[in-house]
Symmetry: C2
Subunit: 398 residues, 2 copies
């Protein structure tokens, strides 16, 4: 058989293991705190139907949606991004600085195409989003973890590692982080942007959960403190419109967007026009704000239910993050419990989570007693029942 | 500014030049034989409207379309590929051997992710599809051209170059090739598959125009002669459904599909569910065959009109390919006419084409008197008028 490229051989198997496990979970009795899917109740099915029926006509936007379109995305969706998602955060972008991509993850891929050579170091939070590590490994980058405390990345550790490893890039999810649910403080956001400029490092700010805030006050993006163009702001429509649409956007300097145009063209040439036209209309018709209000109501209730159940059913000494938004909390169990080993038994008991150790780039043996729990796609009743099952199992191990 | 990766610096500028030229052509008076877009008359706008209205419901397929879906694509679209596009060509694929991708070009990107290291040689037809060369350059491959005659790639030259360059891959468009409109003969198809197996080279067969045949008999794909899994069959829904949908598929051995799963996940995780569900229904409802019959009727008339006008308006000594299908013909002008230089003047005269020399990988100075002409998106009336303008200009140069 033809030999695979080096980049394939350098990909670790951890992400694949996580995926395969969840691929097999089609049991309707299973209560899963794994995955990161939005609640099906917040998917705007009826709005999409209405929009598609009205705009997919020959005199309307049907030809635009079905014909070839611009690699950077259609203009009115880029304008919607600026008006509804950037301007409210005091980010003053022009359409030349915004590009539509095929889902939030594609930005990581395209940015790596632009900047990452084999052997380059990328700093990531420890723990971090495992699928992005998989992308970085595909580019044969070396991921190095930066310590976190309750306020997110520890700036002293970040600067120390910048000096030690001379990284090309820092990848960060500052708001309601995946997997921990933690949020980087405002002071640290400013510091991150300044370190990016000072050491000429690309700061890739991934912010897909930001709109889903249930408590506390909005914080400015890192990008708001960027004076040199070193920060690239990546976001997704998955949590605020539809993951299946596969739409995301990137806001960066015009110089970087111009190069992203070439990379996008040489990857898949453009993002689906069918999905883009529907999404643009979703914003134009004011459905984004309406749907977001519904989503926040549903998720707030689920977050509160999950946190209450963790405190009620998991053993004394359990630590958990109280997330002000997003879809995740991070649980640290007391004692010697290994969450990877426990998972198989949990699944037999019809409850699932994602084991913590897979989220640590480099696999330094951290997070063995941790788990990521998502409250996005489970009802309060399922949360109560699922946590009862999980609590019983964990308590039996102590 | 942060340094770009080596792969960005190694991309040539030819494709970018082609793109930018056509990006600026929004003049409604312009008659363009450039581009490769389908006729807007064959875009199934009404069918898509009907399907979206009926299936995007909460009890129907609305949640499936909007929620996360499988990286390999939804099952019924893979089944539609097997039933409507592979079985009729005697390709007996299973669903495990078929993957849905985000447009035909994405397959080239994913296959390069799997197999291409910097410095690897990829053989391509001379001339070949310029956007794929751009992808190959992004992976820092070296493209080497294989000679063509009226029956497509010359097998003796192919084998000679396999021995000389030890390539990792051969990229070929055997049917109604872009840019020439030429079709590889059956005997040569068999020979290509056998050479792939003999020398353990990946044969990437790109077949997006195959369904659009207006004369002559269907030929089997190269993949039909593959006994070792060395041939990968790539196709697109752009010419038979909608380019804006950004849908394509790949048919390969299960071993390769399993690895493509990882590459796809680490690129953009999955293809748009909104587009996939609509496309699957398009096949299920029998609209594919209906729409294809319409497309062939329209394109046959346009092909005949363009060929007649070339013979009528271009100077004696002009050579052109009579394509049995697809969207392109290839024109070789007599004398010293440089089509790249001529283009600027042509555009001033409100007629456009793509100059030939950009299609030769390596830029060996070939094709300077050639042009690619597309009849896809111009009416017979526009063809008559456009060729009159072009013929007048070219004759004035002799």
């Amino acid at each position: 058989m033809i030999e695979f490229a080096d980049r394939i051989n350098s990909m670790s198997k951890s992400a694949a293991v996580v995926r395969k496990l969840f691929g097999s979970m089609t049991d309707p009795e299973m209560i899963s705190f794994g995955g990161g899917a939005p609640a099906k109740e917040v998917l705007p099915v009826e709005k999409v139907n209405e929009i598609a029926s009205e705009v997919f006509t020959r005199d309307g936007r049907g030809v635009e949606a079905l014909q070839y379109g611009p690699p950077v995305g259609i203009t009115d969706l880029r304008e919607a991004v600026i008006e509804h998602l950037l301007a409210p955060k005091n980010l003053n972008a022009s359409t030349e600085e915004v590009m539509i991509v095929a889902g939030g993850l594609e930005t990581m891929n395209l940015i790596c195409e632009l900047f990452i050579n084999p052997g380059d170091v990328i700093l990531v939070e420890s723990p971090t989003f495992v699928h992005c590590v998989e992308i970085f490994e595909m580019f044969q980058a070396k991921c190095v973890g930066v310590m976190m405390d309750e306020d997110g990345m520890v700036i002293e550790d970040l600067e120390r590692k910048i000096i030690e490893y001379k990284p090309k890039m820092l990848y960060t999810i500052p708001t309601f982080q995946n997997p921990t649910g933690k949020t980087l403080s405002t002071e640290r956001r400013r510091a991150v942007a300044e370190l990016g400029s000072k050491y000429d490092i690309l700061v890739l700010e991934d912010d897909p959960y930001r709109e889903l805030r249930y408590s506390g006050e909005d914080l400015p993006p890192i990008k708001a403190f960027d004076r040199t163009g070193n920060t690239v702001y990546a976001n997704s429509f998955s949590k605020i419109f539809s993951p299946g649409s596969r739409l995301g956007f990137v806001y960066a300097s015009k110089e970087i967007i111009d190069k992203l145009f070439d990379a996008k063209t040489a990857t898949n040439s453009q993002t689906s026009g069918i999905a883009q036209v529907i999404c643009a209309e979703f914003f134009k018709r004011g459905y984004f704000e309406e749907n977001l209000a519904l989503a926040k109501e549903i998720y707030r209730e689920r977050r509160d239910a999950l946190i209450a159940c963790i405190d009620k059913y998991l053993p004394e000494g359990t630590k958990r993050v109280f997330p002000d938004g997003g879809l995740f909390t991070w649980v640290e169990l007391p004692g010697e419990i290994n969450t990877t080993e426990l998972l198989e038994e949990a699944v037999k008991n019809k409850v699932a989570y994602v084991a913590g150790e897979g989220f640590f780039a480099g696999g330094e043996g951290l997070g063995k007693n941790c788990m990521r729990m998502s409250f996005g796609n489970v009802t309060p009743e399922q949360i109560e029942e699922g946590m009862k099952r999980l609590g019983k199992l964990i308590n039996s191990k102590l």
